[in-house]
Amino acid sequence: MSAPIVILGTGLAAYTLAREWRKLDSSSPLLLVTRDGGGFYAKPTLSNALANNKTPAQLQIKSVEQMAAELKAEIRTHCAVTGIDAQRRQIILANDDRLAYDRLVIACGADPFRPPMEGDGAGEVQSINDLDDYSRFHAGLENAKSVAVIGAGLIGCEFANDLATRQINTSLIDPAPWPLSRLLPEAAGEQFTAGLQATGIKFCLGTSVKGVHKTAAGYRLELADGRQLSADRILSAIGLRPRTALAQAAGIARQRGIVANRLLETSIPGIYAMGDCAEIAGLILPYVLPIMHQARALARTLAGTPTTLGYPAMPVVVKTPACPTVVCPPAPGTEGTWQCLSVTGGLEARFLGQAGDLLGFALLGSTTVQSKALAAQIPALLA
């Protein structure tokens, strides 16, 4: 029998690729290898599970057995891959077993970035990057009355909004002067802040967490500007760092992520990378829609039709019911200016180039209905 296509990971990227590839090739062997249990869940549902009254167990959509049957794949769970032998086309497992691959796809995701913090409670700060993390966090909420969320980016704001719906005293801490600072201009950031404040969320902006100290009841956060904050639980959501160690040890080129071209191929032929671990055409885009485009292109390539990855403009929905928001940030390095227009119940911010052309937007509240129409006017991110 020929060697299988091997996918490292069983997250959204890995399973979406497997699903798309199976549509094109119903018989060739497929093996997925994962560190965790391999159950399938939609990662975006972690940050609005409380509002939707879902327990962590209910978030799993399919068991690993169901996934293996549907994908006609072997799935090795709780299995660490320790090396890649590109010359022999084999992956190496923790017990030194070797498994041959026909082609290898690295879709092993990213690790939450953790800032250095002082204090005896720093090691107990939680972060959520998969369903197991979320289960642990959720279990700790049972007797928690307050949560401090470090990082007012997309994920931090979504979790804060979700916690606030459960009447949990929630604080959001970020060094930037307004939340979603990399996605929203100031005027939009102010309106977004007001929307979240109305649910009871407290903002500590323009500062960072210096130390976390245990107290009898929970934790005391020491902020860089001298303020103090107490919280029963602490969640850190300040960004992701692509997992590149395995690829790097195998001699695969990396920058911030595992470097891949627009065929999603790494510097070693026959080895591909996608999802949160990959830097494709210089872009790391840890969102669902880019992963869909990657999976479709790579599935075709693996099935014998080399397909170049393209990205249209891809708006991102921020799941903050307290202030519904859709952002479509301009491509990195784009020159232009924001123009904001306040309307009843919302705000529309357009990012315009020198010729007045639309290159990005942020829509709040009532204006989110225009998302699709505006996205159609924006040039493709990867044409």
Binding site: L12, T16, P44, T45, L289, M292, V317, Q370, K372
Partner: protein, 54 residues
């Protein structure tokens, strides 16, 4: 009226609410949405949605 959930990203379509952003008026039934329609959140096709119990 029923509710459907995208199996890839968890986006929910509630027939009662429709999805005005997508040009689907409140009350638009799932079967009346064109087959080439895609999930507005992640882009998967209509076939990747599943009915969720209300």
């Amino acid at each position: 009226m029923k509710t459907y959930q995208c199996v890839v990203c968890g986006w929910i379509y509630d027939e009662a609410k429709g999805c005005p952003e997508e040009g689907l008026a409140p009350g638009t039934r799932w079967e009346d949405i064109p087959d080439d329609w895609n999930c507005p959140s992640c882009g998967v096709g209509k076939g990747d949605f599943e009915m969720v119990a209300v």
